[in-house]
Symmetry: D2
Subunit: 293 residues, 4 copies
Amino acid sequence: MEVGFLGLGIMGKAMATNLLRHGYRVTVWNRTTAKCQDLVALGATVGETPAAIVARCRYTIAMLSDPSAALSVVFDKDGVLEQIGDGKGYIDMSTVDAATSSKISEAVKLKGGAFVEAPVSGSKKPAEDGQLVILAAGDKKLYDEMVPAFDVLGKKSFFLGEIGNGAKMKLVVNMIMGSMMNSLSEGLCLADKSGLSPQTLLDVLDLGAIANPMFKLKGPAMLQGSYSPAFPLKHQQKDMRLALALGDENAVSMPVSAAANEAFKKARSLGLGDLDFSAVYEVVKGAGGSGQA
Amino acid sequence: MEVGFLGLGIMGKAMATNLLRHGYRVTVWNRTTAKCQDLVALGATVGETPAAIVARCRYTIAMLSDPSAALSVVFDKDGVLEQIGDGKGYIDMSTVDAATSSKISEAVKLKGGAFVEAPVSGSKKPAEDGQLVILAAGDKKLYDEMVPAFDVLGKKSFFLGEIGNGAKMKLVVNMIMGSMMNSLSEGLCLADKSGLSPQTLLDVLDLGAIANPMFKLKGPAMLQGSYSPAFPLKHQQKDMRLALALGDENAVSMPVSAAANEAFKKARSLGLGDLDFSAVYEVVKGAGGSGQA
Amino acid sequence: MEVGFLGLGIMGKAMATNLLRHGYRVTVWNRTTAKCQDLVALGATVGETPAAIVARCRYTIAMLSDPSAALSVVFDKDGVLEQIGDGKGYIDMSTVDAATSSKISEAVKLKGGAFVEAPVSGSKKPAEDGQLVILAAGDKKLYDEMVPAFDVLGKKSFFLGEIGNGAKMKLVVNMIMGSMMNSLSEGLCLADKSGLSPQTLLDVLDLGAIANPMFKLKGPAMLQGSYSPAFPLKHQQKDMRLALALGDENAVSMPVSAAANEAFKKARSLGLGDLDFSAVYEVVKGAGGSGQA
Amino acid sequence: MEVGFLGLGIMGKAMATNLLRHGYRVTVWNRTTAKCQDLVALGATVGETPAAIVARCRYTIAMLSDPSAALSVVFDKDGVLEQIGDGKGYIDMSTVDAATSSKISEAVKLKGGAFVEAPVSGSKKPAEDGQLVILAAGDKKLYDEMVPAFDVLGKKSFFLGEIGNGAKMKLVVNMIMGSMMNSLSEGLCLADKSGLSPQTLLDVLDLGAIANPMFKLKGPAMLQGSYSPAFPLKHQQKDMRLALALGDENAVSMPVSAAANEAFKKARSLGLGDLDFSAVYEVVKGAGGSGQA
C-alpha cells in the first residue's frame, strides 16, 4: 500500500517510520526538506509539494503542528486542494479545533475527495511504539480503508461519526483528566497538612482501585515542585474552557469540572500557565509561582 | 508463630484462613461460635472468649464489623482488656473512626499492652487472595513484629505513625475517589449530550493515562443505571464530609472535593443514599431516583 | 434643545415622553409609525426615516430591542450612516453586546460623527419615572453634551471610558446578581429543611445588613413557586457565561460565580430557561419543572 | 415592669439603659461590679449575684460574651438555677450555640422556670438605638410576656419555635452573607482586571436592585485593603461550616455556599482569619496577607 505523509515533526517522523517498517511505500513532504533524509534512508520517496504528494498517492496522511499549519498545507499554493479529487482520500491526524476540521472537510469534499479527521491520544513514545489511540471521524468508507494503517500507528482506533467528534472526544477526556489532577492535588495537600506523608499517599493510591498512570507519573514530580511541561497548564485550561462551553451549549451542568477550571485559571493568574498542568498543585497548596519548569 | 484472631465475618474468615495456610497457629473466636468450624477443619483452635484468646496468645488480631463491635470485644466482660498486658500486642484491623481507635489504644496501653490500628483497603476478593493494602499506625515495635503476618494478609503494609493516621489515610483516598467518580459522571454525561457514545468514552479512557480499575469496573454498570451497592453512596458522602472537616481543621481549601460532596448530598436528598456511590451519575444526568440497586 | 429619537417600544416611548415633558423638542421615528401618535399628542414631530432624523437633529438617541435592530437602523438603506457626520452625535441606549457596539462606533466615527453607547439598568417603571441608571462609554465630549438629557432620563449616569465598557459593567453587575440569587435560594432551602420558616427568613433578611430590593421583591414569589419572567433565566445564564468568559480572558478565578452558573445551567437543562431567573430555586430544592411562569 | 439584667458589656449596657429610659425598673448584675455605676446613675438597682437577681425579679434577661459565660451564670454557685422556679422567666440574649442553649433550657425547665433564647442581629449602634433584630425561641408564653421589653430593645422580634431555632436562623443569615461577600469580591476583581473602575461598580451597585448596606459599608474599605474586624473572618467561616453541616444533616446541597466556604478557608490558610470577613477579597485577588486590620 502506498501513502503520502505530510509533516515530519516529532510525531510525524515516528509515525511515517512505523509505516515504512511495516512495508508501506511512503512518499513524504515536510516544510523543511532536510527532515526527510532519515526517512529516505529507510526507503521513503520525497515529494516536492503537498499537491505533488496527493497527485501521486491515493491516500495522504497529515500530522501538523497546529491549526494554521493544517490549513496552510491544504489551502495554500501547491496545497492539497489542487490535486485532491474523486477516488483520493485525505486523513488529517493533527490536533485541531472542530471549526478548522470542518473547513478542511468541506473543501476536500467539494473537490470530490474523501476526508477523515483522526487526532490521536498519546505523545512521542506511543507514536514510536505504534501505541497511539486514534479518534477518527468523517468519511466511514475512507476510515475503513485506513484501518490497516491505523493498526500500524496505534493500539486502537475509534470511528466516532461526524466531523468534529474527534476533537470533542479529546475535550471530554482532557476535562476528566483536569478534574482528576485537581483531586490528586487536593488529596496530596490534605495528607501533608494532616500529618500524613504525601509520598505514602501516592504509594497507597497506586495499589488501589483508582491507580492510574497519570498519578504514578506526575505525583512524585509534583511533590518535588517539578513541572516540566509535558502538557502546558494553559492548554489544559483552554481545553476545560472549551469542554465547559460544549456543556453550556448542551445544557450539561458540571460543577466539579467548573471548580477545577477555576483552579487552573487561578494558576494562570499566578503565572504558571507555561508549566505542566500538574502545577495546579501550587494553587491548592496556596503558594504560587514557586514551581520550576 | 501463634496468633489469636477475633471476628470471623467475610473478611476475618478469609484472613484467618490465609494465616493457617501459611503455617501460623491460629486460635479463633467469634460471637457466633458456629462460624469457627470451617477454620477448625483447617487446623485452628477455638478460644472461649476474647480474654481467653489474649491470655493464650502473644499477638491478637481483630477484624470486626463496626466501631461498636470493636469497642465491645475490648471493654465488655471477658474482653481483651482483662488479659492484655506487658509483652502482649493487640492489632485491630477493623475500619473504625479515629476516636474509637484512640479509646482502644489508650486502654490497652494503660494495661501495659501494645496496640496497632491497621484498617485495610480492599474487600472480600483481595482478603481471600492475600492482596489487601494495610494502613497501620500506633506502636512501631509491634508493627515490625507483625510484618510477616501482614505480608501474608496483604500485598503491602504501610506504617503511618501515630494512632488515627490509618483512618485519616482512608479518608484522603476516599475523597480523591469521590471526586474522580464525579469527574467520570460529568464526562459521561457531556459525551452523551454532545452526540458521542459514552461507552466509547469508557473505551478511550481505558487506553490512556487516566485508565484505572474503578472507571473500568463501574463505568459500564453506570451506563445501564445499575448501582448495586459495593460502597453505599451515603458512606462515600460521609467520608467526604469527614475529609472536608479534616481539611477545615487544617485550613486546607479544597473546592473540587467540596463541589463533589455537594453532588453526593444532592444524591442523598433524592433518596439514592443506599445505592452504590456511582449513583451520583443520576444527579449529573439530572434524573434522580431512577437507578436500580 | 432638539433631539431625535429612534425606537418607541416600552422603554423608548417612556424615555421620549420624559424628554418632551422636560421641554425638549423631540423628533421621533419608529418602524411601526402608529406608535408615534401618542408622542405627537405630547408635541413630538415625526421623521420619515432614521436618516431623515439624523439630517434634522444634532443629537439622535436610539433605544432598540436587540442587536439586529440596532445594526439595522444604522447600516440599512435610509439609515443613520447616510446622514451622520461632522458635528452630529449618535447615542445608542439599547442593550447590545460589545461587538455590535464597536461595529456601530467605528462606522459612525468613519463618517466623522461622534458616538456614545449608553445601555441602562432598570426597566419600564424606572424609565417612566426618569430613574434609570445609565452606563455610558465612548466619546467623552458627546457624553458631556448629553448629560442634561441623561439627567432627565435617569437618576444617575456614569461615563465608563472606551466603547464596550458599558456592556462589560452590565455583565459584572448581573454576575453578582446571579450569585446572590443562588445564595438566597440555598438559604431559603436550608431554612425550610431545618424547620425554620422561609418567609421568616425573608423578614429577618429584610431588616439586616444584606437587605436589598431583589430579595424583597423576588423572595415571596419564589416561596409560591411563581416565576413570571421579569428577567428570563436563560438570559441570566448567558450573562454569567459571558462574565466568566471575560474572567477567563483576564485570568480571574471566580469559583462562586462558576458554581452559580452551573446551577443556572442545570435549571436550563430542566426546561426552566424561559421562567424568571429566580427559578433557580427549583434546582436548589431538587425539584425541577414544577414552577409556573 | 421590673426586670433583672445580667451582663453589662457593650451590648448589655446599651440594652439595660434603653429599658431604664422606657420606664422599666431594672436590677443589674455584672461580674465586675464597677460597670454597674453608670446604670445606677440612671436609676438601676444593683444585685449581689445572679441568684439574688432572679430571687427578686420575675423576669431576668442575660447578655453575656460567650457560651462559657452563659453557662457560668446559670450553673455556678450563686447562679440562676439556685433561684429560678415556678412563675419565673429567664431570657438569654447572648449568642451561643444550640447545644449550650439546650443545656440551659433543660436545667431551667427542670426547676419549673420558663426559658427563652433570644440572640440578636445587630451590634453596638443598633443596641444603643433600640434597633436590634431579636431571634427568639423556646417558651411561647414567656416570649409573649417579653414582647413589650423586646419592643424597647429592638425594631423587630421573631418567635421561631423550639430552642435552637434562634441559633439556626443566625447561621442561615450569615451563610447568605458570606456567599454575597464572595460574589462582591469576585465582581470587584473582575471589574478591576477588565479595565473598569471597582469604585464605579460600587456606585452602580448602590443604585440598583441588589443595593444593600453591607456592599455600601464594606466595599470602599475593601478597595483600600482595610479590613478592621467588625466580624472576624474565622468566625464567618465557622458559621459557614456550621451552616453547611446543618445542610448535610438535612441533605440540602448548597454548591455556591460550599464554594464560598472554601474561599474563606483559603483566607484562613493565608493567615487572614483575624481580619474582617471581607478580607476574602484578598484571596479572590490572588494576593494574600497584604491587607491591614
